[in-house]
């Protein structure tokens, strides 16, 4: 059976100046952000900003990046890196206590931040309850 190599594995197999692997992609440093917000009848569309700034050039890591929430009300919420953004998670129900996993699709994951950004949680309903962010990112 044939053996093929990923983009970075290919570079790793043929070291030369043109093939230097982005240091955020191999042995990247991992940092973590935590924040919590207690929503009290926060109306639909409120821009809930969580945590400090994620640096430019960071890759948000699936698995370690999650928003945990109480049962917030009957409806959905989105999570992104801008107000009302959906670049970390598309609209997802928050009706029951649970979690929203972030950046966990082949299209969302793998894109570095192009600027310094915050995490924005946007409810599409009036919400009450606790929202808690865990976000890990890798960078050079």
């Amino acid at each position: 059976m044939a053996t093929v190599y990923g983009v970075n594995a290919t570079k790793n197999n043929a070291p030369k100046p043109q093939n230097v692997i982005d240091p955020s992609e191999q042995g990247g440093r991992v940092r973590w952000i935590h924040d919590v917000y207690e929503a009290v009848t926060q109306v639909s569309g409120t821009d809930i900003v969580l945590g400090g700034v994620i640096p430019k050039g960071a890759q948000i890591i699936p698995g370690l990046s999650v928003i945990y929430h109480d049962a917030l009300g009957t409806g959905n919420a989105t999570v992104g890196t801008s107000a009302a953004g959906v670049d970390l998670a598309a609209a997802e129900a928050v009706t029951s206590a649970g979690s929203i996993v972030l950046n966990n699709t082949v299209d969302l994951f793998g894109t570095k931040t192009t600027d310094k950004v915050n995490v924005h949680f946007t409810p599409l309903l009036t919400i009450t309850g606790t929202i808690r962010l865990s976000l890990a990112y890798a960078m050079a």
Binding site: W32, Q42, G45, L50, G52, G63, S65, S99
Partner: protein, 139 residues
Amino acid sequence: MATVYGVNATKINSPSFQNILGPDQQGARVRWIHDSYECVATASGTDIILGGKIPANAHVLPGSALYHDDLGAANVTVGTTAAGAELAASTDVNNTTTIPLNNTVDLFGTKSTAAANVHVTPDAQLDGTIRLSIAYAMA
């Protein structure tokens, strides 16, 4: 529409001596622990200790998990003390699957208050492999 801020985002927006953010909360270092144990007729109530100690003031991160074989007709708890359930409540291990650790809004977000190991405690005999992956963040 209004913009509101999380507890830590609020502190970052208003830097003052009172608002210094714990370095375990923003840009925290992440470390990882791995261990495995081969259960062979491991009796109910056995205190199975995995890995080295998680330091005090660490946050166990989502994605941390205990992977296991079909261990038999039993449940296990996972905690930071003998017979503890701080990381996962009693869970059926009678099939090959994964127990996610610290994955609720109530469990997650609480720092360890002392250096602690991971303890797995069965309520019936176990046979098979258990394997721990745990990541934690700290200052």
